[in-house]
Symmetry: C2
Subunit: 367 residues, 2 copies
């Protein structure tokens, strides 16, 4: 292999495939990036056997075809620090890669690309199209409530409910449910899959932040493929049935509160300061006409906050783990939120003041 390309462009693509490079050392080839130069162009691939990423062809002048696997960390470190505009990559018969740029010449030991695992094949038939920005937001706004231990493996992923015109993304741990809904630009019809949390957190890092960038999503029984234009990411799906979360949400409520989101977050954050145990001390909310009082108490002392709000319905006293409320409230962008309460031992639901773009359910604590 011998080729010349723009250094900054190469670095940009390395940063994309890096998200699928393995950190475990049992299979050293998985710590590599596969560099391929053939009639289709110059392409980078990484694959940790859970997630695989393959770039679109990178603009390059290829003078000799070939492929080689190179340790991702060293390739990234070197390209990031090179001081020229153009970089030349050339392999010799022992899979050593000569990297030349500006005043630098490196010779780095690589491996044959033959042992590099292929990405799973995903037939590009049924597909869904949406804005990359939108999916980015949906992941950020739900991923914090996936289950952290894998006693129920389906809960370590997020449910994607593809529908005719919209998609729901749902995550559930034992204490809360996060639900987001957004329109699709194209839909091949109704279906449900569970995508691993790790896949979504890596995908989140490479989704474009530019307005109007779209992506297409393709599905098989076992895999999901995200086509971002600059690269495709393929991931296994989690098998099994997701829990029937819909029945946990109730339309009924006894108390309705509308508040400025940021004011409520700040008050909850301050009230949690009297907690020594990583802010797990419960906060008590006393909802009354005109707003709520928030109190917290520990051996360090007490905190008392008042937050104004529009309150309808019965007065109520209810306790929560403040972190769960804060994480849900932080993920929302709207200036104001609506919160429905039923009883001191029933979950509350955080909703938009108008519309149905999200709902967050949080279980209270028994005081």
């Amino acid at each position: 292999m011998k080729l010349t390309c723009n250094k900054d462009l190469l670095l940009q693509y390395i940063n994309i495939v890096n998200k699928a490079v393995s950190n475990r050392t049992t299979l050293p080839i998985l710590e590599c990036i596969l560099l391929t130069a053939d009639e289709k162009g110059f392409v980078l691939t990484a694959n940790d056997l859970e997630i695989g990423i393959k770039t679109a062809p990178i603009s390059a002048e290829i003078t000799e075809k070939g492929e080689v696997a190179l340790e991702a960390r060293i390739l990234n470190d070197i390209v990031r620090r090179l001081n020229g505009d153009t970089v030349t990559l050339e392999t010799d018969e022992n899979y050593a890669v000569h990297i030349t740029c500006g005043s630098s010449q490196f010779k780095i030991m690589g491996q044959s690309g033959e042992d590099f695992p292929d990405l799973p094949e995903v037939k590009q038939e049924q597909f869904y199209t949406m804005e990359q920005n939108t999916l980015r937001d949906m992941i950020r706004q739900t991923i914090f409530s996936i289950a952290q231990n894998d006693s129920k493996p389906v809960l370590t992923g997020e449910l994607f409910q593809w529908q005719a015109e919209s998609v729901n993304v749902v995550s559930v741990d034992g204490y809360r449910i996060s639900f987001r809904k957004n329109p699709l630009q194209h839909s091949s019809g109704q279906t449900e899959v569970i995508v691993p949390g790790k896949t979504l957190s890596e995908l989140h890092k490479i989704l474009s932040q530019e307005a109007e960038s779209t992506l297409s999503v393709y599905l098989t029984d076992k895999h999901i493929l995200f086509d971002l234009g600059v690269a495709v990411m393929v991931s296994r799906l989690i098998e099994g049935d997701f829990i029937r979360y819909e029945q946990s949400f109730s339309e009924d409520y006894k108390t309705k509160v509308v508040m400025y989101r940021e004011e409520l977050i700040q008050a909850l954050e301050r009230a949690s300061l009297v907690s020594r145990d990583n802010r797990k001390t419960p906060v008590r909310m006393m909802i009354r006409s005109g707003g709520m009082d928030i109190t917290a108490r520990s051996d360090m002392g007490t905190a008392h906050e008042t937050v104004p709000g529009e309150v309808e319905g019965e007065e109520l006293s209810i306790a929560f783990n403040p972190r769960y409320l804060i994480e849900a409230l932080r993920s929302i962008e709207e200036e104001q939120v609506k919160i429905h309460f039923i009883a001191p031992l029933s979950p509350c639901t955080i909703l938009p003041v108008e519309g149905d773009a999200f709902k967050y359910l949080i279980l209270p604590l028994r005081m």
Copy 2:
């Protein structure tokens, strides 16, 4: 005690005394900040028995004198997040402190101030005055080469050589010497002290970055006091004799190189990338007419860099731990540096192209 003051001002002073709050838990009072309101004003003090800091009086409306010790972490966390402009602090008979600001009311358990250790007394007779900015720079430019283990306790501090018109700051570990020299605005004459590295690294954080801010330094046999205006910091000194570093610097050289500092740093950084062991792989410099070639070699591969420079004298091949060269070069601000070499197994000296504001000596490695 009862007083009202500006919240941002209070936070600013908390951040200053925080540098002398202890992290160890054997003596809980040392994790506190002492709040004192008396006829001299409202003052904060912290003291970990190595370093003590006491602020100048903070502008406040004192309605009741008194003092109380409050855990620094909780005080800082609360004041940082309060949402009003003005904060009221009031103690009750059990040393609980009521903190009121905006929509928040906290009651935090404090302790009697009686057990709080006094700062050592330093007679303000002999003193030295310089710009805070200058001392900041001198600390940053030398502190990286203090000894990390305390087999020779004097080397865990820095030597301050106070002279009639200037001060030298010197640090030495087993492999290198860092030396900086700067003029004084006022001097009470020649004397030498060894200041603990921990003191200097905390002092560095609170020295003003504003031009023309000055500080005065007062000395006793056992203590040093830095008067920054907003606060005084008192530290113990390290007893013992510093090593006679002067004799290690030689005026002679066989090879002289003048280079752009940043070009040399970048080349050394890149050459160290082929090292697996935290960049400890030696780099070899081959100095020849017109500049130097830098090479490094490990099981990962090889790196070769060329750096142009003005070279006078003999050609030379010499090896170094790249980190030692990089740390010294990074601490310098001049665009170009001069490096003197004597022989492959003799130390090199990094000097300014003109003047004597600094010198860095680094031992080579035997290859």
